[in-house]
Symmetry: C7
Subunit: 94 residues, 7 copies
Amino acid sequence: MNIKPLADRVVVKMVESEETTKSGIVLPGSAKEKPQIAEVVAVGPGTVQDGKEVKMEVKVGDKVIISKYSGTEVKFNNEEYTILKQGDILAIVE
Amino acid sequence: MNIKPLADRVVVKMVESEETTKSGIVLPGSAKEKPQIAEVVAVGPGTVQDGKEVKMEVKVGDKVIISKYSGTEVKFNNEEYTILKQGDILAIVE
Amino acid sequence: MNIKPLADRVVVKMVESEETTKSGIVLPGSAKEKPQIAEVVAVGPGTVQDGKEVKMEVKVGDKVIISKYSGTEVKFNNEEYTILKQGDILAIVE
Amino acid sequence: MNIKPLADRVVVKMVESEETTKSGIVLPGSAKEKPQIAEVVAVGPGTVQDGKEVKMEVKVGDKVIISKYSGTEVKFNNEEYTILKQGDILAIVE
Amino acid sequence: MNIKPLADRVVVKMVESEETTKSGIVLPGSAKEKPQIAEVVAVGPGTVQDGKEVKMEVKVGDKVIISKYSGTEVKFNNEEYTILKQGDILAIVE
Amino acid sequence: MNIKPLADRVVVKMVESEETTKSGIVLPGSAKEKPQIAEVVAVGPGTVQDGKEVKMEVKVGDKVIISKYSGTEVKFNNEEYTILKQGDILAIVE
Amino acid sequence: MNIKPLADRVVVKMVESEETTKSGIVLPGSAKEKPQIAEVVAVGPGTVQDGKEVKMEVKVGDKVIISKYSGTEVKFNNEEYTILKQGDILAIVE
């Protein structure tokens, strides 16, 4: 199966990362805050809003920063994704 | 009887699915979260919003992902449907 | 007396229906949820919104589905009506 | 004294009516719900909204249906009036 | 000192009035509801909103009806004034 | 250091004033309500909003009346300022 | 790694400063209010809003004043940043 987001929506998958705290302790995924870096897995075709074309500026594979609370979480093929509008992506990480 | 949605509305029917959890237990429909995948059963004629034409991009039979909380549930011929605007459909599943 | 709705408003009368539950019990009107199917009894002349003409697409006698919470209930000649905007009508039932 | 509403506002006076309930009991004014039928006593000159002219379609003497909660109640010469925008008038009763 | 309101704002001073209730009792100012009739003491130059000119239609000395809750109360030279937008003035009293 | 407000923002400094109540008692600054008269100390370059130019109509040194709750308080060089949009200035005092 | 903000967003890093209170006591960073002065570390390409181009007027290295509550905090490479829209920057400090 395959997800095709509509309009200016983007499907992302949160990136879980092991991480070392300042004191040197490694936190497993479940003990951390929900991660804010996500990988783009599908991009919609763009849309028109207020009479202006919204072009898609992210592409599949981009690492992006998103707010913890933006978008809608969906379960699909036993995996969790977040579908959000491109305008809710804060930044691309390179 | 037949439902004809107005403007840019779409009538969908939630898809109930048996599903295996990661631990291998099969959950019957009633014990799960409300499903988020739905099948399109009727599509409105489109509308004009903010002076721009809204064309319908989904068609009857499409499987779509919708947010748990979008749209209005209606009972019709003893079946439950959700009527929502196309803009509240997050993605098409293929 | 006669009701003439203004702008893009529509006057509807809720349709009360006896109905058989899945277990076969007939529920009288008072024990059920408020019905969501209504009949159009008067239609306004249409309006202009955001610089675009809103044409009326429902006509007197149409059966329509409306959300339980939309519109304003009014008592008139000892009958209850709901006055709502055409945009709050979800679908026409045929 | 005289009230001249500004823009697309209308001044109405609620119509109190004795009324017979279905069981045949006459309710005096104070025991009933606030009436929803009102008579137009003054009409503003119209206005421009979102770049479109709003023409006045009600006139002094019209009986209109208004929502219980719309407009602002004012006391003037020891009488109570409601000042509301024409767009909040639901229908004209003829 | 002198107050010059900006844009489409108007400065008014509430009119306190002795008033006879229906039963004939005169209520002193402090026992009454906050008055809703005000006198215009200063008028702004007008403004442009949504690309349309907002002209001032009230003038200094006009008696106007305002909602109890609109505008901002300011103390100035030990007097209380209300500064509100012209669009919040409901009607002119003549 | 120097503050340069962006767009149509204005930096003001609240004016503390000793003031005599009607009964003749002088209230020191801390026992009074927060003052509503402020002096403009910096003015932004103006902006474009809804396709219309917003010109700055206040200048450094103007005494203005502002609502108690508008703008953002900032501490800067151990002094407190309020940064607000010109549209939140109610009037100029001369 | 590098952060590239989208549209009219700006990435800033709050400036922590030792500061002497009026009574002369030096407060360490953790005992103070969250600082409101930030340094710009990345600037987006600008955007189009309501049919008007939004040009970026801040540049990397600028010291800016931001409201305590605007923007989204992100952790990135073990450092905390705030990503906000240029329109939420109140002023530039020089």
